[in-house]
């Protein structure tokens, strides 16, 4: 740090985005008057090759050792400018980004004079901060080319097969004794009416035969340690513990069918069953029912479970059609709240059911149907018909309850184990619904299939493949490079309160043992740089001031605030 600080400031017009509102030449002139500023200039587009080469030339000519670019957002352009500094031989962490577009010109379009004043303030703060930045090195960690797929349902199978075909080793961990997940219990799939085994069997066979896939049946995940590239997972397989070293994890644990015990006579009458129970009944018995009532939205779209089961309407249609096909004289009535037959495919399927004479009755959420019967047999369903404005009675020798998929029981445990978030409904919550749909905030762990929310088979397969593609990225690169602005703990200041462990959304903080000067031992917080994303939550929460975040240290922020005009 013996060299004097020489700052170069580059202010971007961004076409008319900034230059149209902020008086850029004025800001440039102002920047020249700031302490340690060696050079200041305006560019039409700093991100163009002209602008970038100008930065490089100034660094070389004037021996600048700090660079401030005042332009757009770091979200899109920070990488570019950092790389540019690196090309000129400057450490890329000696660069500071000032956002004049989103933070100034776009929000103060009506007030150019005030916007110019604010732009000067922002540039001044940037210059004050950049002087205190220190050179740092990127952190690179190696990635094991092994993936662990949790769950051997249709999602997990497609993900595992995709990864294995790309040449990565896959550890497929399935809790049950058999592969196939919930789809095993389904008789025929909609809307093709092919037996589910024609879909599942080839998939299972190729997974079992694949040299790259190691299948662990009856195995339960006990513990996960480590971070992207090097997870240590402990599984309990057939009573004995095994440790797997994997680079990435795909969570495809699926969901389970809701059992509405106690409602609609379920559990009391033997002929009241869920759709999944009916799938297991076997096709031979389909023809014996003459009066079938199917009740939709059982346990879904209510106070307890606010979500829609998404495909259960189609399941109800499928079973209604199957029953009608087996016995055309059967009276099949679907008691529904809305028929969610989305898209041309399912719209046609709905019309097919209508054309076969399946009847639909709408019921109100506040007046649910009543299933009545004697002994262990349901005989009729009473439902308030909203159009007639009166209660009607439907004969029934079979009552099917259409229930949604609900989160698997061990979701909470898995969420704790891997520090991955659950949504309010108990399903796993992805990092971003649209931009990062199969990822978690923590690196190297991915999610797919019904573990996220109830989806039908094609989408399960699609998400499985998407998660596999995402998981392959770090494994293909062989290493992950993380930003060097990660939290650092000063162990001697740590008071062992554990707040940082609680607030870290990425599970990057853990306990480490330290010898005290008196000769004893104490636990102190330790940040794993490979997992840390530099969000600063631990830094802000630390009461002892033991944690600092290099790009945003107290000195730097105070310098920004203190650089009064």
């Amino acid at each position: 740090m013996s060299d004097p600080v020489k700052v170069g400031v580059f202010v971007c017009h961004c076409g008319s985005n900034i230059g149209g509102i902020v008086n850029v030449p004025e800001v440039v002139e102002y920047a020249k008057t700031l302490p340690s500023v060696e050079w200041a200039e305006g560019n039409l587009y700093t991100c163009s090759e002209d602008g970038l080469s100008s930065i490089r030339n100034r660094i070389k000519e004037l021996k600048l050792n700090r660079v401030v670019v005042a332009s757009c957002t770091p979200r899109t352009h920070e990488m570019l400018f950092r790389k540019n500094c690196e090309r000129a031989g400057l450490n890329k962490y000696l660069f500071e980004f000032v956002n004049l577009r989103e933070h100034c010109s776009w929000v103060h379009m009506q007030k150019p004079a005030e916007a110019t004043l604010k732009a000067k303030d922002l540039v001044r703060m940037g210059v004050a901060k950049v002087s205190l930045l220190q050179p740092r090195e990127d952190l690179a960690t190696d990635v094991l080319r092994v993936a662990m797929v949790l769950g051997g349902g249709v999602t997990g199978l497609s993900a595992a097969l995709s990864l294995a075909n790309q040449g990565y080793r896959v550890e497929l961990v399935e809790k049950e004794e058999e592969l196939g997940g919930l789809l095993r219990f389904v008789y025929k799939v909609f809307p093709t009416h092919r037996p589910s085994s024609t879909l599942l069997d080839p998939l299972i066979e190729s997974v079992l035969k694949h040299p790259n896939i190691q299948v662990h049946l009856g195995a339960e995940l006990k513990e996960v340690k480590g971070f992207v590239g090097n997870f240590k997972a402990t599984i309990k397989e057939n009573g004995e513990s095994r440790e797997l070293s994997v680079g990435t994890i795909i969570v495809a644990v699926g969901a389970q069918s809701h059992k509405p015990t106690g409602t609609f006579g379920y559990g009391r009458f033997e002929n009241v069953m869920t759709q999944l129970d009916f799938e297991g009944l076997g096709p031979d018995r389909h023809a014996e029912f003459n009066h079938v009532v199917i009740i939709n939205c059982v346990g879904a779209r209510n106070e307890e479970r606010s979500y829609c089961g998404r495909f259960c309407c189609i399941v109800a249609l499928k079973n209604a059609i199957l029953l009608k096909e087996a016995n055309p004289r059967a009276q099949v009535t679907i008691v529904q709240r809305d028929v969610m037959a989305v898209g041309k495919l399912y719209e046609d399927y709905y019309r097919r059911a209508l054309g076969m004479g399946v009847r639909f009755v709408r019921y109100d959420k506040d007046q649910p149907p009543q299933v009545e019967g004697a002994d262990a047999k349901a005989e009729k369903v009473r439902v308030f018909h909203m159009l007639l404005g009166k209660e009607i009675e439907l004969r029934a020798d079979l009552v099917l309850l259409t229930t949604p998929l609900v989160p698997a029981e061990d979701n909470a445990a898995l969420s704790q184990m891997m520090k991955i978030p659950l949504g309010t409904d108990g399903f796993f919550l992805e990092a971003h619904q649209k931009l990062r749909p199969v990822e978690f905030p923590a690196d190297g762990i991915f999610v797919a299939g019904c573990a996220r929310y109830p989806i039908e088979i094609p989408e399960c397969i699609g998400q499985g493949l998407a998660a596999a593609a995402k998981a392959a990225i770090p494994m293909a690169r062989g290493k992950v490079v993380s930003d060097a602005f990660v939290s650092e703990v000063e162990p001697s200041l740590c008071s062992t309160c554990g707040r940082c462990l609680e607030v870290c959304p990425f599970g990057a903080v853990d306990w480490a043992e330290m010898r005290t000067p008196e000769g004893g031992k104490k636990n102190v917080a330790k940040v794993n740089p490979a997992e840390c994303k530099g969000c600063g939550l631990c830094t802000a929460s630390c009461l002892s001031g033991a944690i600092r975040l290099p790009g945003f240290t107290d000195e730097q922020l105070f310098a920004m605030i203190g650089s009064q005009r």
Binding site: V339, L354, G355, R359, F360, L387, L388, G389, I392
Partner: protein
């Protein structure tokens, strides 16, 4: 409102029920997807003050499916068969054709309290409720006697008069 009140009594026989079911199938009544377009375009609201959606097309279908006792319900006689609902139905339910055939079926099965017949030849013409409405509308015009005969009889009556006049004019012209 008393017109809309249900009268005690008649229940459809099994034969009639099957005939109605056959009519419903033939006119694709079961293809309804409950979009509500038929109720939205139904002009009955202009004719009957007490119109509510219980008297709309879809409701009549539901009534026939799930409430067989209401076969003598006056609501079944409200429709004027204007064809608006049939025209707008996205699913191809031919309700107009169903309604006209359905009333013929009811009349031939003896449910005729709500129907009115031609004074001259005695064939079924239209629902009584419709006739009352037309009478009220045409009251001041002094030509409501046109209402009581069926188109065929009117044709016979007025066409022969027309021929007479035309014949007289022809011979006078010659």
């Amino acid at each position: 409102m008393q017109h809309a009140l249900r009268k005690e009594g008649k229940t459809a026989t099994t034969d009639l029920r099957e005939a109605i079911q056959a009519l419903m199938d033939a006119n694709h009544l079961n293809l309804c997807v409950e979009c509500g377009k038929c109720s939205a375009v139904c002009p009955m609201v202009n004719f009957y003050g007490e119109y509510v959606h219980k008297r709309c097309t879809r409701s009549v279908v539901e009534r026939l499916c799930y409430d067989p006792e209401s076969i003598d319900d006056e609501v079944l006689w409200y429709c004027w068969a204007c064809m608006e609902c049939t025209f707008f139905c996205p699913s191809g339910v031919d309700f107009q054709n169903f309604m006209t055939s359905f009333r013929q079926l009811l009349v031939s099965n003896g449910y005729s309290e709500q129907a009115c017949f031609c004074k001259a030849c005695g064939t079924y013409m239209m629902p009584k409720r419709q006739l009352e409405y037309l009478e009220a509308t045409l009251h001041s015009k002094g030509n409501q006697e046109l209402l009581y005969e069926c188109p065929n009889c009117k044709k016979g009556k007025y066409l022969s008069a027309f021929h007479r006049i035309a014949g007289a004019a022809k011979s006078a012209g010659r």
